[in-house]
Amino acid sequence: MAKRAAPEVNAGSMADIAFLLLIFFLVTTTIETDSGINRKLPPIEDQSEPPVIKQKNIFTVLLNGKDQLLVEDEIMEIKDLRQAAIDFLDNGGDGSCSFCNGKKNPDLSDNPTKAIISLKNERETTYKTYIAVQNELVAAYNVLRDARSQELYGMPFSEMEANHKDVNWPGNKVKLKEKIEKIKLDYPQKLSEVQ
């Protein structure tokens, strides 16, 4: 008896089945956002008396219910806030800061380690404006840290942090962590929110 070849399976509709699945996944896919601004809330503790802070070391940012911005008693646009914060932080008023590039304005902060940014908002402020202001203030710190890190280690701060998180980075992470901590000590993020 002659050997009979197995009949070929008709694969013509395979594409249709695959299309069906494809369309299902296309429709159900939602690209989730998983990035944002990290913050740390202050713990609740009953402070008997708040520490005395010189007025010039505080940078007050007020956001009212109509989303208007008042910075150090002057109305300001959000786009100017970053530069104003940088000027304040990097001022180096009393000369104790050896790496600051500021104008040494006597009305602004003495030293980045003493400088505090105080943010106050009202209940009616919209969330998007609040986020915009937070973003600009964080950006001011990041700009200064990047500049300091570039000067000391020839690499921006953001890159060092990215490397520290990257599991495939070949360098010495302990040393890198030390460098990051050093920069963080030079420009500590002191952002307080008034309740």
């Binding site: 159900t28 896919t29 956002t33 969330y127 998007k128 609040y130 973003n135």
Partner: protein
């Protein structure tokens, strides 16, 4: 001589579609791998604001999500004020403490200090609600928070 017989018919041959399933499967696999199934179905409008100083949230399993925003079209009867959504239902500010405790109980003990609370809040919500949420989080000592934002310029807000 039939050696130079003219080929019969001048029709264009049909396009070979044998590789079409392969191409479609390739796309299919891409979407299957890239898809993240939503954990919660949203009952609120959730149009996140933009920011550019963002950090990525890694370790997805160590994130607790709190949503807030106006009730969406299908839940009009809940009013037009911004509301909080925890898991799959509307919630009150005072429910947050219970929610956090529940989330903590479901994680291994040594991981609890690394838990982050991601606030996914609609850009039109007002800060009063967020202030309340933050106050509640401070009470239960869940201090690491993340304002989830889209990547973009703040001027677009």
């Amino acid at each position: 001589m039939s050696k130079f017989k003219k080929k019969k018919g001048g029709e264009i041959p049909a396009v070979n579609t044998a590789a079409l399933p392969d191409i479609v499967f390739m796309l299919l696999f891409f979407f299957m791998v890239a898809t993240v199934m939503r954990q919660n179905s949203l009952k609120i409008e959730n149009n996140l604001p933009f920011a550019d100083q963002v950090e990525k949230l890694d370790k997805k399993d160590l994130v607790m999500y709190i949503y807030a925003g106006k009730p969406s079209e299908n839940y009009k009867q809940m009013g037009t004020e911004a509301k909080i959504q925890l898991d799959d239902s509307f919630a009150d500010v005072k429910d947050i403490a219970g929610f956090i405790a529940e989330q903590r109980a479901s994680k291994r003990e040594e991981l609890i200090p690394f838990l982050t609370t991601a606030l996914k809040v609609d850009s039109d919500a007002n800060m009063g609600l967020i202030g309340d949420i933050k106050q509640e989080l401070r009470k239960v000592n869940a201090l690491k928070i993340n304002y989830t934002t889209k990547k973009g310029s703040v001027i677009g807000n």
